[in-house]
Homo-oligomer: 94 residues x 2
DNA sequence: GTCAAGGTAAGACTTGAATCTTACCTTTGG
DNA sequence: CCAAAGGTAAGATTCAAGTCTTACCTTGAC
């Protein structure tokens, strides 16, 4: 879990939006990739969630029919204390 | 001073190195662009320091002969508490 | 069994970021 | 005055990131 990779992952507004949504939800919340309503194609969704997973920010649990994203809140907080709340409390920029 | 811009600025390893060096130095430390010994051309230096300035992370004070970079530590800490220490305490990767 | 929904994979496309070279400006120091 | 040092500006290049389309796979529901 490297700082550079994490910052690069969070630099994208769509990915930051995903992390912010998960960070504001109760810990352990599972959400499908499609449930965020991001304005991109399915293939782009796959790309963004892969970047988040590689950076260590989320896990993806197989739910048979779909694949849910879960924030790795504790791991992130342990390594980069305060980072999550910065993202969570940042006003969205529509 | 927007989170997205700040994260994008800090995603680059060279720029992160500059911010880390300034953050570890005493507050208000002034350093010329060239003093960091980054392995790029002068023109690339100008580019990187402009990005840092646009993101609001540094000021550049004119010293006649040269132009020194100064970390905007208080402003950063006020808006993004904890962010600076994440960058400052991150182990360099080379 | 069939079909729709959710994801993934591979490939192409496009745009932006980082880099360099060259040329120029400004200031300090002989 | 002249030269060197530190930066800036403009333009070209190169490469990665984000995006799409198409095709395919898997699971659950009918």
């Amino acid at each position: 879990m490297e700082l550079g990779e994490v910052l690069a992952a969070l630099a994208d507004p769509l990915r930051r939006q995903v992390i912010a949504a998960l960070a504001r939800a109760p810990a352990g919340t599972e959400r499908t990739c499609a449930s965020f309503g991001l304005p991109v194609s399915k293939a782009s969704l796959t790309h963004h969630f892969r970047v988040l997973r590689f950076a260590g920010l989320i896990r993806q649990v197989d739910r048979g029919n779909s694949r849910a994203a879960v924030l790795r809140g504790d791991d992130i907080e342990a390594r980069f204390p305060g980072l999550l709340s910065l993202v969570a409390n940042d006003p969205a920029k529509p």
